[in-house]
Symmetry: C2
Subunit: 235 residues, 2 copies
């Protein structure tokens, strides 16, 4: 019998999670949050725990607090930032596939541009990329290993692009992937990934183009490869 560990998140994290869910579900009338003292009372925690949670919500641009006045909910579409991905992707235990599709589209766009930049700036990456592609070919049945290798492949390209923002975006997107993974378990939903991994040859093409320093070819190859998954996901 496998007993899962009991989650022991700090109180402020739990409060953050609760408030976040309530905000995204638009549960506050007029978009006005109760006072910190009231929240502390209803959650039956100390006011400091509430304050720490509110500070995080504030940083995520989800609320606006002002001394003396009340704390208001902001529109995350116009105020929120990309880091919300992880929180928007899975809500109330169900995956928002529209958000997931958005993430795949973004991955394709940035992945393609990163490949082009990598070809222009770090064609030497080529060797490492081919090695990963070889490894992937060697275990086409091990989905977990393929996942890991795929991450290595694209991380190398993004590193080669010498674009810090692409690196950070990749982190954000991978974070979303992790959330998705945890939410779906080892479910069959990763048919998408499985299908993508059937085309390791295309990764090789990307690597070749990068090795040749041919930015446009690298871009096209990467875009074609990544875009297929978007289409498969209903884009």
């Amino acid at each position: 019998m496998a007993l899962a560990p009991v989650a022991a998140a700090p109180l402020s994290d739990q409060v953050y999670r609760r408030l976040l869910d309530a905000i995204l579900a638009d549960e506050f009338v007029e978009g006005i949050l109760p006072s910190e003292r009231d929240l502390a009372a209803t959650f039956e925690v100390n006011r400091h725990a509430v304050r720490e949670a509110l500070k995080r919500l504030q940083q995520a641009r989800l609320v606006e607090v002002s001394q003396g006045g009340s704390t208001k909910v902001l529109d995350y579409r116009t105020e929120g930032r990309l880091d919300l991905l992880a929180d928007l992707l899975v809500r109330a235990g169900t995956v928002d596939w529209k958000v997931a599709r958005s993430a795949l589209e973004m991955r394709a766009s940035i992945g393609a541009d990163a490949a082009a930049l990598c070809a222009a700036r770090a064609p030497k990456t080529h060797k490492a990329l081919l090695k990963v592609a070889d490894a992937m070919d060697r275990h086409l049945d091990d989905l977990a290993a393929l996942d890991a290798d795929n991450v290595v492949f694209w991380t190398a390209i993004v590193e080669g692009s010498a674009n810090l923002l692409y690196r950070l975006s990749l982190n954000t997107l991978l974070d979303g992937l992790r959330i998705l993974d945890a939410s779906l378990g080892d479910d069959s939903v990763f048919e998408l990934a499985r299908e993508e991994y059937r085309h390791v040859g295309e990764l090789r093409e990307v690597a070749d183009a990068i090795g040749a320093g041919d930015a446009e070819r690298a871009r096209r190859a990467a875009y074609q490869h990544l875009r297929r998954t978007v289409t498969a996901a209903g884009g």
Copy 2:
């Protein structure tokens, strides 16, 4: 006479800022932060203020705190997320142009893809876009107005792309722009923008392609327009 409001940031925000700067400047030996009590003592503030700041750093994936153990600095390249842009762009009062160039590259990539998606999904956006382009033509000498209109133009395209993540990325990028603006004042550095606005005709071309539902033409036109600024910035 224009009187600017007096800045009165909460203590925890100031502590956050100080710690952030120290972290990005790699000022902590072995990447280990002093204890909360020590930080409170050195900053001469209450421990709660320090805790609120640390919660935010934790959320930004800049530090890892563990009860009983010490708080460690994480590598923002591998752990940080896109929201760091605003903090990385301007440090110690000077602009990091490498980061700025990265942002411009990302803008070009996402802007082009958003234009393509907009053409496919919301060709009707075309009308509003042309109206903005007209307005821009009408006041080619008013940089502030051009800036505002430009934001409206691209926001409309991103809305039309129906991609929530592009919307959030736009927010993040615009945030960076605001930071840049505030840091540089009305400085001459916005030669870049000025040059971009000399090509309002290209925006019209983007709008036309979108109106025609021609995704690839919209992508090419948008990319060409946005990419020029990247090149001008030394990309």
